[in-house]
């Protein structure tokens, strides 16, 4: 029996990008063999921002939970790394993963309290919580209080005895983190859960009416992104080897920039953070020396993009050129080219049942 319709997910472009992506991954795995220290350092930064942006996009773009307080979990992850390695003797690379679990634990009471706030008030509520964490860690004197502390050298040595090997291991850890984050988001979005998330993104009442438990879904997504954000925070702390409350819980570094990346790239699309990260790092490489001018420009850029191109770069590419990198959309393909969605779909289905 031949079906008149089939559901297709991958497109030719997404297959091309899939092959290119695997090729890029191979290049990235081998990067320590042909790149210098500073390039590897930059790559880890790129991984961190891409991961933070993808997670924020999952949270805000799909579930509508616009958080301005994700720096809470970046900071918690960083401090967990310090606590686990210094006081519990956990190997640093393992601590990066465990920091995610710690951040998840903290996110449960956090979510329980701030889920009472809706919409824009939720946004500022998350910010207050992040401030509470920052001010609290500034009072913890064993972790250096307000001025922060550095990882003792014997712990740094325990990663690998020499600097080159250490840099490589941190780089590969970063690569594992970003691949894990992107793969998780991809698999979630392709699953039933992803369908629920997309439904919530498009219309909350409609999602609820077809049986999605909005509150539960949002809660779980919040915990998941908090945990992954914690691991990224631990990675950031491991790369810097230093931590202080103001840097670890910085709203500018870990939320403002991340939101700009997602908005410029395209919110509510998995490709968005990818494009946004590229634009962000290009701008940074060329304009960072301008200091405040650079940030003013970034602020203006965000306003202009929101008003004129609300779907960002990824949205524009998808609308105009039908380009999508990740095969997340389901499309109906007809055997008979005259059939279309709508009445045609029903008749095509009927014919396929008869044959």
């Amino acid at each position: 029996m031949t079906k008149a319709v089939r559901i297709e997910r991958s497109t030719r472009t997404s297959r091309i990008f899939g092959v290119a992506g695997l090729f890029l991954l191979a290049l990235l795995v081998a990067a320590p063999f042909y790149s210098g220290r500073s390039e590897l350092y930059l790559w880890v930064e790129v991984f961190c921002y891409l991961a933070l942006a993808s997670l924020w996009n999952l949270l805000a773009g799909y579930t509508g939970l616009v958080s301005v307080g994700q720096q809470a979990f970046v900071g918690l992850g960083g401090y967990s790394l310090f606590t686990l390695t210094i006081f519990f003797g956990v190997p640093p690379l393992l601590a990066v993963m465990l920091a995610g679990a710690v951040a998840t634990l903290f996110s449960i009471p956090t979510a329980w309290v701030i889920f009472r706030l809706k919409g824009a008030y939720f946004a500022i509520g998350t910010w207050v919580v992040a401030e509470v964490y920052r001010l609290t860690f500034a009072q913890v004197s064993v972790l250096g209080g307000g001025s922060g502390s550095s990882i003792p050298s014997q712990i740094v040595q325990s990663i690998a005895p020499n600097r080159l090997a250490r840099d490589n291991l941190i780089y590969w850890t970063g690569l594992i983190v970003i691949v894990a984050v992107l793969a998780t988001i991809y698999l979630i979005l392709r699953s039933r859960w992803g369908l629920a998330l997309t439904a919530i993104r498009d219309s909350e009442p409609a999602a609820e009416s077809v049986g999605v438990d909005n509150y539960r879904t949002k809660f779980l997504v919040y915990l998941l992104t908090a945990g992954a954000t914690g691991s990224v925070g631990a990675l950031i702390a491991l790369q810097k080897l230093r931590i202080s409350p103001d840097a670890a819980f910085s709203v500018n570094d870990w939320t403002v920039f991340v939101i700009f990346i997602v908005v410029i790239g395209g919110i509510g699309r998995m490709e968005g953070p990818l494009f946004g990260t590229i634009v962000f790092f290009l701008l940074r490489e060329f304009l960072a020396d301008w200091g405040p001018w650079y940030l003013m420009l970034l602020g203006l850029f965000a306003i202009v993009i929101t008003l004129t191109m609300p779907k960002g770069i990824a949205g524009m590419l998808a609308d105009r050129f039908d380009i999508q990198i990740f095969p997340l959309r389901r499309r109906v393909r007809f055997r008979n080219p005259q059939d279309t969605i709508g009445p045609g779909l029903t008749s095509a289905l009927e014919r396929s049942q008869k044959s």
């Binding site: 616009v66 509520g125 207050v128 509470v132 307000g146 003013m296 203006l300 008003l307």
Partner: protein
């Protein structure tokens, strides 16, 4: 007696927080816009007042004659040119636009005025005080701030419930489409609401500058204080916002008495506790 004086300081500080909050609450009520740049606009007003003090040698409070119309015009323009385009059923665009504006303002101020701490010098007003029985000294400035906050809230209440403009604000708040059908020009009205909000912001900014040091980076924290006062008091009730400001102020001064590092933390914790126990605030009014 020391404790009484700490609590009194906190209550009076609550007046300033209510001033921070009133403008934010007004525009949320009228157009459901949460202006993330609110705190930065307060700081901007303080800088504008500083320039006028420097240029004309006026007393900071007298500069309000110029700061209020300047900020009100800026508010009207911002609303018509920027915010109105972002408003809609989706909450994300206005949030992102005001977020962008916040970052822009902070860095523009940093570029123009550097990161140094500034102060608006108000002469004797800074030090004047009177003594209550029991040896409690009360500053005149905090009392003036509190009185101004009460006056601003009274004025807003009268405007909202006794005037034609107030009726228009309330009708738009209830139902934008129907209000428009009744002949209200929403875009213009939103502009007026933002102008009014920034007029209150000007007053708050000048008091902020007289009371303590300020620099371009302190805006976001003022936004958070304003937000906490609104939520504690209950969304939509202006007198509730004053009570919220007072609770926040007292929490902060008591926290600071235990340890100066706890001042802001104590305020946040009281806010979160109230959010947990009584999420609708003390005087909820929004539908």
């Amino acid at each position: 007696m020391d404790l009484v004086s700490t609590v009194l300081d906190g209550i009076l500080l609550g007046g300033l927080y209510a001033l921070f909050a009133a403008g934010l609450s007004l525009i949320f009520g009228v157009m459901r816009l949460v202006n993330i740049a609110h705190g930065d606009l307060i700081v901007l007003s303080a800088f504008v007042a500083m320039i006028i003090v420097g240029a004309l040698g006026l007393h900071p409070l007298v500069t309000l004659v110029l700061v209020v119309p300047l900020m009100a015009s800026l508010g009207y323009g911002l609303q018509r040119v920027v915010f109105n385009r972002a408003l809609g059923h989706d909450i994300l665009p206005p949030l992102l636009v005001s977020f962008g504006l916040s970052v822009f303002l902070q860095n523009a101020l940093l570029q123009i005025f550097s990161g140094d701490s500034r102060r608006l010098h108000a002469g004797n007003l800074e030090t004047w005080h009177f003594d209550l029985p029991g040896g409690i000294a009360v500053g005149v400035l905090p009392c003036v701030m509190f009185a101004v906050a009460v006056a601003v809230i009274t004025g807003l209440q009268l405007l909202l419930y006794r005037t034609k403009l107030g009726r228009a604000f309330r009708s738009v708040s209830d139902d934008q489409e129907t209000a428009q059908l009744m002949g209200i020009n929403n875009a213009h009205l939103f502009g007026l609401a933002m102008a009014l909000s920034l007029s209150i912001v000007s007053v708050a900014g000048v008091f902020l500058g007289i009371r303590a040091n300020f620099d371009p980076s302190i805006g976001p924290t003022r936004l958070i204080f304003a937000f906490e006062a609104i939520i504690i008091g209950g969304l939509g009730d202006l007198w509730g916002t004053l009570v919220g400001g007072v609770i926040l102020g007292v929490a902060q001064t008591l926290g600071a008495r235990i340890n100066p590092g706890y001042q802001i933390l104590a305020g946040h914790i009281v806010f979160l506790a109230i959010l947990t126990l009584r999420p609708q605030g003390f005087f909820p009014k929004t539908r």
